[in-house]
Symmetry: D4
Subunit: 161 residues, 8 copies
């Protein structure tokens, strides 16, 4: 039984949650589906890998140099990601098994400096390497389902089970 | 008779009020019920004491050490309380008769540094101990009904009686 | 003919305007009535002089000392006025013929420090005494009707006549 | 195919876009028309050249000195332009073929200091002269249609063609 | 005996104090002289009344219209006063017996919005008219000597006598 | 052996540390003495209990009502404490065995909202009651000597022993 | 005779002034030389035109595309110019007779958004084109000597002649 | 020949530079040595790997759980790194060949959100993985010597060779 009913007369707070990081598994879907009914607005980056890489040259013209090809695309994506993080109450950053994922850690640092509530979703094997990131977080979760439970508790005061 | 009718053509300002502090009496209910009709959005912490204490380990896994048990829970609660305070126009902090209530005083300091309008609700016996907190407040009230009257005046310009 | 129609496809920007200062003439009504249809949200202080003076003691208990009587009331009023100014896009400050009106000048300074667009409404006889206030303003008007025309132009691009 | 559908369940982010600069061609219309359906709120300055120049004296009284004539008008326009830029997520600044266009560059600097996402729309011939402005931008486009494609990608994740 | 010696090992905090308001009596001298030895940096406006009124036209050229004559001067003075207030830890605002003194109240509001510690120096006869200003202050003093004692206490922990 | 020598060529960063809270034991002296040679600027409140309580009325005149007696004093002390916290890099807050110590928790909340690095110095018996405060801290220490070791490590990279 | 001597006991405020804009005449030298003795710290951009254009490729490697050649250089220069403007109390922006000078107007907008005191130095022929820039300024000067007199007045209270 | 001599009369701007990231090669020494004479204040993290990992438990007591062991240490290090980044004008982040280096990317994001001038030092092989980080930077360098040349140019206006 939740303490929010007493405190809030049944109405819940409205949260915006930005889902940053790994784009190759279905973790965003699992959080969104699990959190259905909590009234959360979810945002996130463009998760189509190809479009995300090529958007700059596809729209603004080709580049001979791969560095500028990447640069034009990364800047377009920044229009979306910075707004998404800046407007969020909570930023969830997921670190997966593969790739460098420096953009995920960059987003975490960016969110931390803006004072956002930070939740890191990571496998145990990365604990040591992520200790500085985790030190800035309000929660370190292992599964998308824990993130759902976290958000449900924060919004409704109800614990699982 | 209110001066707001003249100034506002009948429409009232929309306030968000965060109710911080003591969770063992019905003061939040008395303020919410008394202020019905003023169009105020009330927020507050999770007031289920048990859930509030155990949320961290219930969701993210048990801890052997009580310190980290508490730590994980307090951080989850911070996701809710910081958003609630940050979005409020007015933060009411209630100090009761029992317990240390350092989290209430912490919230008051947090709200003061953010420039929130602070109302302290306290019994006279605490006046000396709360003088630094009161010095940052715009009102010191003795009863929830005074808080209701305060909010009614601020929003509608009408005085009681 | 307005340039906004071309720029905006007919939709207007939504402004919040705070009306600060003199409370003894009908200038607020003239601005609100004149600006009907512009979609402006107007705010202002409690304009019932008696209630404004006595609100503190009426709600929180009498004071023997007139200084604290005034102090308690002025702080309650600050809950309303600071929110009103902080949320406004434009702050109009009216200086009339009588009284010290230091609260009006205080509001003007407060609004200026917050970077608000400031419009001063004043008779010519006060021009020299208000030169520092006017130096922080984007417009100095003589009549409420000019303020209406100003706001109409800013929102719709249309000039009078 | 867009990656946003996966990330967002079909709902799009809501952007505000301010269109600053050149007022003699139909570029604003082309962007607004092209972006119909993206749910963008567009703002911009008053684009009626005559009204924009004369608004100050038309409302607040004539000036003998052309400098103060211009000054009164420019300040009224600032009430609109500063709010428009301050509330925007994205500021598009268009540099055309003629005139000094210092107000466009001023708006770009103003937006950059506020941390807005800046898109510059300029012909190649101005590339060298605009290099400091471009260095603060997230995109440099050549046509209004590219701006539309940019915004469509940022909001929906979809690339043209 | 001061508690600062214990807390600070003899070294004092370094304060900047801005002295705003009335320029016709020797109150600034009395505070500066009384506070000699406290290591305070005092700032204030230009207090030569004539220079302060005419600086704009004397340097930038004459104006036919008195309004612009005043305007040019007030803006030049703002270069100094805003820096002085912005850099101060404490802003003392003195209200005297004569004149409108709206610039003093404007400075008080400006300082309050910046979160400065505000001390108001005023005769009792102005108490009611200054109640909104006093509500934002941390002290209301009657004499320059009280201001000196205040500053001495804040810096050294020592009380008079 | 420290890693700072390599990183800094021997020169140390300059820290300001504010020591808030309990004023009845010698913990401030032990930290200041222990940290001699680290180049730290220490600040703190007035620690003479009597002066701190009576400063308001001693300087600004007596009050019949104990509430206003306390109020005037608490506001004077705020001139010092807010500057001290605002300028600090690190705020150490000490909770002792006795008294309500709400001013200490208030300072902790105030410092947290300003983004200061917070160190809490507390006996184990208070761990549960301080969990919300500790959740905002970067370290929870048990002895003043640990605080010294912490500061020494942060500034020089050297560990004890 | 200055009013500052009375107000300040002979000591002057310390100003930082950033000199932005046109780099082909000796206006910076004339201001610096004229202001010798006022204790002003002057900053400005790199004024060697060739170095300023080529710095990016000279240090970080050549680019085939002129756009990226310019881009790399403009970003390096931004490291200097943004710090210079951000730290300045006063930003003087000079518009000359030639070139587009969009970087000057960009700097003016950037400084305005940061709340800097802005002085524009411009020939009369540019008055209409610069009206939006001038509307954000505290002074519009015609000669470097007027800027010197302005700064001398602001710092010492003394008028020329 | 530098343009700064003309602009600055020989005096250089004073920069603070924070050196973040990889701690296993001598890149910090090469930058510090190369930049000797430029008057730069360099900061950085504790670079003794062992001390950095163990500082938390060495000072505040052992932890059974490796997660909390790391957590206590990472928080202590944050006291130093956040101050270092917050006070820097320029943040250089070095990505090396090994390890996850998420703390480096976190620092880059943190610095970007604070508006710091960001220089990334990276081998070409990481260009694609770092494109989001580079998009927020003002320069991407390949060698410590290029960083030295960059800083020399920014401070003195002189190009190499």
């Amino acid at each position: 039984m939740s303490g929010i009913i007493k405190a809030k007369g049944g109405r819940s707070m409205a949260f915006r949650v930005y889902l940053s990081g790994e784009i190759h598994t279905d973790w965003r879907d699992r959080i969104r589906d699990g959190a259905a009914g909590l009234g959360i607005d979810f945002d996130g980056p463009v998760t189509d890998h190809g479009n995300s890489d090529d958007c700059g040259v596809a729209i603004l013209g080709a580049e001979d140099d791969k560095f500028w090809h990447d640069h034009k695309g990364a800047k377009l994506n920044a229009i979306r990601t910075r707004k998404g993080i800046a407007e969020a109450d909570v930023v969830v950053v997921r670190f997966g098994d593969k790739y460098k994922q420096w953009n995920a850690a960059f987003d975490a640092g960016y969110a931390a400096a803006l004072g956002k509530s930070l939740i890191i979703l990571q496998p145990e094997e990365h604990d040591h390497a992520l200790k500085e990131v985790d030190a800035a977080a309000l929660a370190v979760a292992r599964t998308p389902e824990q993130v759902v439970q976290l958000l449900a508790y924060v919004i409704t005061g109800t614990l699982p089970g």
